[in-house]
Homo-oligomer: 290 residues x 2
């Protein structure tokens, strides 16, 4: 069983990005974050993205907005960043408070600065297999892990559990492309799927993006499969100082022994998400320099 | 075995559209066709779309351009139609000559007039499950047939053979939506798929969009499945006056007896494509009147 750890892959990507950033000393890539409110997870995520950016020479900005902000005022903040030639990437940290429309917010970000890949134009480019598309960071990170571990995908059966805009759907679209590290037969399962285990057991590559700790058990995985665990779930843990620990969607201990390869949680896909955000930012910056 | 014929469903849709068109006597929907060159199939398709439009009170225009036209000149034609407030829908008939970029051409059409649903913005809206999306006519027609025959889709396994932008991908995205006549488990197969028959035999609903006459045989279909044949293939037929006949992707004679329901070719999905084009045109017109 091969353990596919996020750290070495993410580090290799970040090293390559630092080199690309260094090639043009006259300019620096800049990513702007918009955070609405003080949700602790959002505070943590944005901070860790900013730290990584700094390490590789990417400038970052943070606009913190009150969680009472109106949709129009949020749009105005986005419009200002869209118009600012010094900003190359814009990320509105989700989730947003209930009174704000996430889809409309993502669509407000200029497609050329949409480093999150949730704007309709970039989703459409992904469907069209346009390489200029910005692809959502988590599924793009999954493909990158598969690629750098030289896992065969052509003709293989990729089963994705989850149909979200953030992971499930873009992952499915990525693996069905006519491209290297794609060309897969792709199945998308979800909460309404009948006979789920029967389908997941057919996966050569199983991507778990359900958001429920330990949902994928041994009997759902074919011996010799590659398992990619996208889940990041908080689970009560009285023994830890924080009172919780992070667990994936896969029962790692029972599933791992029968896998060809598997990603751990923490230490797996999560690290890739931040690396791919940096990759999208450098891509946006390079495009703006052309 | 139930035969799902296109004609009654298409006719019901066209009747409903004629009624919607009649509700606003001050204005008439207008669809503009661009045809590049004299490809006989394109001439035929555009003519039949124009005839149907006329029957239900939709105005149509046809711009025929030489097959030597440059990309820029084609863009200029599209731009003029985009800017014309009297035109509500624009369709550039594919295939285009090799020197023209189809993707760029589809993306040039204003998303609000993109009644073909191939523009990146409408593809992205489909991924986002935005009901304002214009959806590609053939897969939208497949959903409409399923809906009007009250075929259960929630939790069912839909297998699509084909991953084109025109049919396979939008069909997959439609059936995985959180919506009525969707909520399906969806598998996309294609030329690179290993063990194709093993996968297609699991389909509760099998959508054949390969473009090869008689490709789907009896052993590829589960008894009791619903089979939707999207293929429109010309096959030599010395006994016919034209020298050819139209055949679907499915071996109808051997597959039909074991199906719960099946669409014939001709007389099936093909008729739905034109009806859905009209539906998209009326939708664009109604949106422009708001």
């Amino acid at each position: 069983m091969e353990l596919i750890e996020g750290k070495p892959v993410a580090q290799a990507i970040l090293n390559e990005l630092a080199e690309r950033v260094g090639k043009n000393p006259a300019s620096r890539p800049c990513v702007a974050f918009i955070r609405v409110g003080e949700d602790p997870a959002s505070v943590y995520y944005v901070r860790s993205k900013q730290k990584t950016a700094e390490k590789i020479g990417i400038e970052s900005r943070l606009n913190v907005l009150p969680d009472t902000i109106s949709q129009q005022a949020l749009f105005a903040e986005i419009d200002a960043l869209n118009a600012d030639p010094k900003v190359h990437g814009i990320l509105v940290q989700a989730p947003l408070p209930d009174h704000l429309d996430e889809r409309a917010t993502f669509n407000r970000v200029s497609p050329d600065k949409d480093v999150d890949g949730f704007n309709q134009v970039n989703l459409g480019r992904l469907v069209q297999e346009d390489p200029s598309a910005f692809v959502a960071c988590t599924p793009a990170g999954v493909v990158e892990m598969i690629k750098r571990h030289r896992i065969e995908t052509a003709g293989k059966h990729v089963v994705v559990i989850g149909r979200s805009l953030i992971v499930g759907k873009p992952a499915a679209l990525l693996f069905m492309r006519k491209a290297e590290f794609a060309n897969s037969t792709v199945t998308v399962c979800h909460s309404r799927t009948q006979n789920l285990a029967e389908i997941t057991r057919q996966a050569d590559i199983l991507i778990a993006a359900i958001g429920r700790a330990g949902y994928v058990t041994k009997d759902m995985v074919k011996p010799g499969a590659v398992v990619i665990d996208v889940g990041i779930n908080r689970v009560d843990d009285p023994q830890s100082a924080k009172g919780y620990k992070i667990a994936g969607d896969v029962q790692f201990d029972e599933v791992a022994p029968q896998c060809k390869a598997i990603t751990p949680v923490p230490g797996g896909v999560g690290l890739m998400t931040v690396a791919m955000l940096m990759s999208n930012t450098v891509k946006a910056w390079e495009a703006s320099n052309r």
